[in-house]
């Protein structure tokens, strides 16, 4: 279907210009608001530093620590298997002491733990955002049977205990699959499991936004110009749901960090000896933490600080870009 040349011209000149200025001002005014939010800005800087620590973990560890999987039996008391000296054997050589039983450097393991934590959480969030945005837009825009099926699926995934399903999925995946094995496979499985239970959080928000957007004039205009479903979805709706998706995916990252750490803590996450914060907490349990709290404080505080920073940044982004939003 082709529109008369006159209308075509008016539309192609006027409409995109309006959309662009609106788009720019939304992002810019949001950034101005965000810059005034001190806790959010400090959290953002902290997270950039953390990302750098994760990326340059090998360099940092070679300067300040020992390889994360290297045992140091000479630092342990042979009778109790606990580190010699106070505070878990803390010294200039071993900044946070060493683990009981095998004497691995706690500082190095905490630094390397940031890698697994951020990698899994970010990839799982990306998975959730892609699935959630596409299915959320489909449900909201197409409506009818599509909407019923997708909305019910989201309800189902949100209501079942994901931890138990995650344990079950890990139990049935063989040691080699999809051309992957070992730690790589476990990380892929973790990303899949966490992402598959997290996408409905994004899907619900996108669906709600699209439901209110689809009756607006610019969508109708686009449709009457002959735009197909996918054009409308990706060219018109997607830019308009980008801001809330950004906000809520930032708030989803901390949840995913907690989920990854939880599964590793339960022993179904990354495979030992790969360092992860959840695994370090598991090592500190069985009463070891009662001998030296540092075994648990190092990974525990790392999780707490990271999750808190993402929450503060996410809250700041929500206030800056989605002033109406709030609650969940």
């Amino acid at each position: 279907m082709t529109a008369p040349p006159g209308e075509m011209m008016v539309d192609s000149v006027a409409a995109p210009a309006v959309v662009q200025t609106e788009g720019r001002s939304l992002w810019r005014s949001g950034w101005i608001r965000l810059r005034r939010d001190k806790p959010a800005m400090i959290s953002g800087i902290f997270l950039i530093l953390l990302a750098l620590i994760a990326i340059f973990a090998p360099v940092i560890v070679s300067l300040l620590g020992h390889p994360p999987n290297e045992p140091h039996y000479d630092l342990l008391d042979p009778n109790t298997a606990a580190p010699r000296g106070r505070f878990g054997g803390m010294s200039w050589d071993y900044l946070l002491g060493v683990e009981p039983v095998n004497g691995r450097d706690i500082f190095s393991r905490t630094v390397y733990g940031a890698r697994v934590s951020l990698l899994v959480a970010l990839l799982a969030t990306a998975t959730a955002v892609i699935i959630g945005t596409v299915l959320g837009m489909l449900a909201g825009y197409l409506g009818g049977l599509w909407d019923t099926i997708i909305a019910r699926l989201m309800d189902l995934l949100l209501s079942v205990p994901s931890v138990l399903f995650a344990i079950a999925i890990v139990a049935v995946i063989p040691n080699k699959a999809f051309g992957l094995s070992g730690s790589g496979l476990r990380i892929a499985v973790l990303v899949f499991v966490i992402g598959i239970f997290a996408w409905p959080y994004i899907g619900r928000i996108v669906r709600g936004q699209v439901l209110s957007l689809r009756e607006r004039e610019f969508i109708e205009a686009s449709r009457s110009l002959g735009a197909g479903t996918f054009t409308v979805m990706f060219r018109e709706l997607l830019p308009n749901v980008a801001a809330p998706v950004l906000v809520y995916s930032t708030l989803l990252i901390p949840t995913n960090i907690l989920n990854e750490a939880a599964l590793s803590y339960l022993g179904v996450g990354v495979r030992p000896p790969t360092a992860s914060w959840g695994d370090s907490l598991a090592v500190s349990s069985h009463g070891w933490y009662s001998i030296e709290p540092i075994f648990m404080l190092a990974p525990g505080l790392a999780i707490f600080a990271t999750v808190l920073a993402f929450n503060l940044l996410g809250d700041g982004l929500r206030d800056a870009f989605d002033p109406r939003g709030g609650g969940r």
Partner: protein, 333 residues
């Protein structure tokens, strides 16, 4: 009303059926597709060929998927026979199979472990609903005050603290440093209710912290909304006492979204309970499921997963129905 409840129940049954298909695919179809013989998974660590053949026959793994699924479903609702020639057994409903570790029916293991997880979840739910809603109301009424600001900071910390960290921290203080409760362990309610509660207190506190924070925020937001409504102003204008205005006119409608979210949160609460009981060393549903993964005892993992999913979905339907009875606005006219 009756139609709404009936619709909800049918919806619940459809979802339960979907979950059973999902579980069947997860435990029988996916392993096979990935090149893992389900019989080997079900038989446990390094079985010999004869055992594998026996398990294949016993579980009917050589039949078609449709047959297998039908037997699986029949087992759950009506019980089934396990038959491998010499080894015949009747598994009464709800049949979730037998553990390959100790030959115990999975159902009886679940029944043994359920009170632990249920006690933990129930106590924590009472605690976080009472504390979360009351502090939320207080924050909303004195918005911007000292209490509100402290509550906001505490709840931000609360949602950022994992239960497996706060649990270890609390155990360290309560049990190892201050010796208030030595050797925290689960005591059966029927054995000694006082000891049951005493030993559960740290776990309840830890599990409820996260949710208290959430419900404090939710109640606050919801209350601020209803406090701005016209009918609240009318109630005040009539000269009603502030307590009546807040408790009756503002709080009751503010609770509606909280009940919905509570229903949705049950599954997450269950997950939190699993982590908490693992931290405290209680033998609940989570513990038997994790042990089953580590000892490669798939029937137990499957049984616990299915049971938990069924339980949560039923609870959700119940919440929806109760909700329709309490709040007439929910019912479609």
């Amino acid at each position: 009303m009756a139609r709404f409840i009936l619709g909800r129940l049918i919806g619940g049954i459809v979802i339960l059926w979907l979950v059973s298909v999902l579980a069947f695919v997860l435990f029988f179809v996916i392993p096979k597709a990935l090149g893992n013989n389900p019989a080997v998974l079900f038989a446990g660590r390094s079985p010999d060929p004869a055992t594998i053949a026996g398990v294949t026959k016993k579980l009917g793994l050589d039949r078609s998927y449709v047959d297998q699924y039908w037997n699986f479903l029949r087992g759950v609702f009506a019980g089934r026979h396990f038959d491998s020639g010499s080894d015949r057994s009747w598994c009464p409903a709800p049949c979730l199979g037998y553990s390959f570790r100790n030959d115990q029916p999975v159902w009886s293991q679940i029944v043994d472990a359920l009170p632990v997880t249920a006690s933990l979840s129930f106590g924590a739910a009472v605690l976080f609903l009472v504390v979360g809603v009351s502090t939320g109301v207080f924050s909303a009424v004195r918005r911007g005050g000292l209490f509100d600001r402290i509550a906001a900071a505490v709840s931000l910390a609360g949602v950022s603290l994992p239960v497996y960290f706060t649990g270890l921290l609390l155990l360290l203080l309560v049990s190892y440093k201050w010796h208030i409760i030595d050797n925290v362990h689960y005591v059966n309610f029927t054995h000694n209710p006082a000891l049951w509660a005493w030993n559960l207190i740290p776990a309840w506190l830890v599990l409820s912290l996260l949710y208290t924070a959430n419900y404090q925020r939710l109640t606050r937001a919801s209350m601020i909304e209803t406090l701005g409504e016209d009918y609240v102003r009318t109630a005040r204008a009539k000269g009603l006492r502030e307590r009546t205005v807040i408790g009756k006119h503002a709080l009751r409608p503010a609770l509606t979204p909280i009940v919905t979210i509570f229903g949705l949160d049950l599954g997450v609460l269950f997950g939190g309970a699993i982590l908490t009981e693992h931290t405290f060393g209680f033998r609940g549903l989570g513990a038997i499921s994790i042990d089953a993964v580590n000892t490669q005892d798939l029937p137990v993992t499957m049984g616990v997963t299915l049971f938990a999913a069924f339980f949560i979905i039923l609870a959700n339907v119940l919440v929806d129905v109760t909700y329709a009875i309490i709040d007439p606005r929910v019912r479609p006219s």
